[in-house]
């Protein structure tokens, strides 16, 4: 009574488990996974294109909020996408584990019991005579079969590696998933802008932005320092079709890992191997060196300013904030044109990305820059709404224009600005993912295993001698169009070698 109650209680879970681990469900989940991955390529993803998400919110805020509620900006970490692949992997394990047990048993036991009715097998031949079963076994062995004499018959099987490969493939996929998860959890990547001459010290405070995995620990950051000595951008000057196309970015740096300094080079596709992390070159731009003296004649600002590139010819936009200037704070919005040209409208543009004929223009403002209010301000933007315009294209004075080495008085005697020269900056990513090696290892194992699984054929062959009758039979797993010809060749060989 009790046991039947228990079995009825277990009926639905068992039924559910059987359904989940069936091939049909695996197939369905695979197709669902493919389908679920599609929206991630249609909508901008926070992980790959955070700016795209921001633009979406600006342009269509209601739709964006709706899409966001459906996690369509985070497809690959969404509840529904995760549910599909977790179910798929549960189904996979549930399907493969019992097969592993069966396969291990088969490997241990060797060929199966010779079936009574061999005529029902997919390939079957008959002949008459007598055979030496020991010699039959030898012939089959030479053909790569595991063969065993069973009374009046020989039972043989080959192609175990097919199932081995299949199982290894599926287990490797599980291992890849685990390595991706754990590795991603421990990983980190941080961004930093380095002007030529700058030194980066590997600790959290040195990063402009930092994205750690959920299990990241600050102790993972191995101390080292990296000084960007020189950053060269090489343009193609030989081929007209290539005009203005960079052909190489070369960052020369001094790496000090505590035991001594070494000179290193890193480029796109060739990251620098620092202790506990790789340093990648991801962006470049200009950092004009500017000195500002204020109305009292004191140096209020001096140093390189990072300008953000605006187009492929490196027209660059920079913001200079001089909160220490007296009597009034000075703010400047500045454009840098590496090779300047004047448009019909009188505006400037850059026509070549290398500094062949550089020009710096400055729009000048005075007033309270708002830096003392305690609100964090973007260093790359200047809010001019509360400032007084001193010089701009629409202001009381024209913008200040400077060539390298030149200086100019600011209107109204508020100070003087000097354009000392141009440096380059490099954007670097410092990143490490300890899972990478393991993901690659298991992916490579999976690849080799799938080749075995797909290319090897599993075949069983039986030879039975009863009285004067000799029977040859073969069976294959799955579709095997060569089975009959293989059996026929084996038959010929046996009749030649093992006749008594």
């Amino acid at each position: 009574m009790e046991s039947s109650f228990r079995s009825s209680l277990m009926f639905w879970p068992r039924w559910f488990w059987r359904q989940l681990t069936s091939m049909r469900t695996a197939l369905f989940l695979l197709l669902l996974l493919a389908l679920a991955a599609v929206p991630g390529s249609l909508y901008p993803q926070r992980s790959a294109d955070p700016n795209g998400v921001r633009v979406y919110y600006d342009e269509r805020p209601e739709l964006a909020a709706f899409l966001d509620a459906l996690q369509l900006f985070d497809v690959y970490t969404s509840v529904w996408f995760s549910a599909i692949y977790i179910l798929l992997f549960v189904s996979l394990v549930g399907c493969v584990l019992p097969r592993l047990r069966v396969h291990l048993t088969a490997l241990r036991r060797g060929p199966v019991q010779t079936p009574e009715n061999l005529k029902r097998m997919s390939a079957y031949f008959e002949s008459t005579g007598a055979l030496d079963l020991e010699k039959v076994r030898k012939v089959l062995k030479q053909n790569g079969f595991r063969a065993e004499i069973q009374g009046d018959s020989v039972s043989a099987e080959k192609g175990y590696a097919k199932e081995t490969g299949n199982l290894v493939f599926h287990f490797s996929l599980v291992a890849v998933l685990i390595a991706v998860g754990v590795g991603g959890g421990l990983s980190f990547s941080g961004q930093r802008v380095l002007v030529e001459g700058d030194t980066f010290v590997n600790n959290l405070a040195s990063y402009d932005s930092f994205s750690p995995g959920p299990f990241f620990n600050e102790r993972e950051l191995v101390p080292f320092s990296l000084k960007l000595d020189d950053f060269a951008v090489i343009y193609d000057l030989r081929n007209p079709a290539n005009l203005g196309q960079p052909i190489d970015f070369v960052a020369s740096a001094t790496l000090d890992d505590g035991s001594g300094a070494t000179s290193q080079e890193f480029r796109v596709n060739h990251p620098l191997a620092a202790p506990g992390a790789n340093v990648y070159l991801t962006g470049n731009g200009f950092a004009p060196v500017i000195t500002v003296t204020d109305g009292t004649g004191a140096v209020a600002f001096s140093g390189p300013v990072v300008y953000l590139p605006q187009d492929s010819n490196m027209t660059s936009l920079g913001v200079i904030k001089v909160p220490d200037a007296l009597p009034e704070q000075i703010g400047m919005i500045s454009f840098f044109y590496p090779t300047v040209a004047e448009l019909d409208t009188g505006a400037y543009t850059s026509i070549y990305p290398d500094p062949i004929d550089p020009l710096l223009t400055l729009n000048v403002y005075t007033g309270d820059l708002g830096l003392d209010s305690g609100i964090p301000r973007n260093v790359y933007a200047l809010d001019t709404s509360q400032l007084e315009v001193v010089a701009s294209r629409t202001g009381p004075n024209p913008p200040v224009e400077l060539r390298p080495g030149e200086s100019a008085d600011l209107p109204g005697g508020i100070g003087r600005v000097t354009f000392d020269g141009v440096l380059r900056f490099a954007s670097v990513d410092v990143a490490w993912n300890p899972g990478g090696f393991w993901v690659l290892l298991f992916a490579a194992i999976a690849l080799i295993a799938i080749v075995f699984s797909l290319s090897i054929r599993r075949r069983r062959v039986w030879v039975r001698v009863r009285g004067e009758k000799i029977e040859y039979a073969a069976l294959a797993r799955g579709d095997d169009e060569q089975l009959e010809s293989v059996l026929s060749e084996i038959k010929d060989e046996i009749e030649k070698e093992a006749r008594v």
Binding site: G40, A48, I234, A241, D248, P271, A443
Partner: protein, 286 residues
């Protein structure tokens, strides 16, 4: 990196590619005649024989065009849409012609010829760009491996797709007189399976190679870039196809449809994702 480009030579290469298109068109006509004749007379093979000679010659001419493009650019000829297309067409034709030696795959000659002709037409009329040097992000030996194997995989998927179509047409009972001359359904399914199998293994390799390269170039091996998404989708679709072939009730027409959906995703990944989707793989050159 001081490479000299040779645009005039690239124009010569373009001539060869165009000549190959002309030859492919002739081959296509011959194969079409063959199919029309085959309906009434199963022993007919004159058109077919001549067609294969023309097809072989077209492949040779296209091969010269592709090699000249590589010499003109001083690198492997697969770094933008135009070059992917001409090298892809050459690869499909080569895979097909070599396969003829191994298996009887004559029946999809019309499909393969037509498909490569359309590919080349798109390449020449829509995708052509002057030869340029490689942008730094592409300067890696992974360009040779990753892209070549991807193109090879497409070659195998394409031949399989031809058999999927033939299978579906025959099993639907269309054009019975002609389709009766085609191999049995079982045989066509088996051939498609073999080609998809090789395609799947190559695709898996290219996915892994791409991840290794991405780790070098973009500091992460996988980031769900649009191209990565579609590479993944294609992989999963063909994995689904392989499962379908081993699932009772799912082989046959359903598996053939799955294979075709997989191949449509391959084409979508090449044309739509390359040209219209935002992402890191912005190498169309257009």
């Amino acid at each position: 990196m001081n490479v000299v480009l040779n645009e005039p030579l690239s124009q010569v290469s373009l001539l060869f590619v165009s000549a190959a298109m002309g030859l492919l068109a002739v081959a296509l006509l011959l194969f079409a005649f063959q199919l029309a004749k085959l309906k009434d007379d199963s022993t007919e093979s004159r058109f077919e024989k001549f067609g294969f000679w023309v097809l072989g010659f077209a492949t040779l001419v296209l091969g010269v065009g592709v090699v000249l493009r590589g010499i003109a650019a001083n690198r492997v000829p697969w770094a933008n849409m135009y070059e992917f297309s001409i090298t892809g067409a050459l690869t499909i034709l080569t895979v097909y012609l070599v396969s003829l030696k191994v298996r009887d795959v004559r029946y999809v000659a019309t499909f393969v010829t037509g498909f490569t002709l359309v590919t080349l037409f798109a390449a020449v009329s829509l995708f052509y760009v002057e030869v340029k040097t490689l942008m730094p992000a592409l300067q890696s030996y992974w360009l040779v491996i990753h892209v070549m194997v991807a193109i090879l995989a497409v070659g195998f998927f394409a031949v399989a797709a031809g058999f999927h179509i033939a299978y579906l047409v025959k099993s639907a009972g269309w054009g019975k007189a002609l389709m009766d001359r085609f191999p049995e359904l079982k045989v066509m399914e088996r051939i498609a399976y073999r080609f998809n199998m090789v395609g799947f293994v190559s695709w898996s390799f290219t996915l892994i190679a791409g991840a290794i390269w991405a780790e070098r170039a973009w500091h992460r091996y996988w980031g769900w870039d649009t191209k990565e998404v579609w590479t993944f989708i294609i992989w999963v679709l063909y994995a689904g196809y392989l499962h379908a072939m081993a699932t009772r009730g799912w082989n046959g027409r359903r598996a053939a449809w799955l294979g075709l959906i997989g191949f449509s995703a391959v084409i979508f990944n090449f044309v739509v994702v390359n040209l219209f989707f935002k992402g890191l793989h912005v190498y169309s050159g257009l």
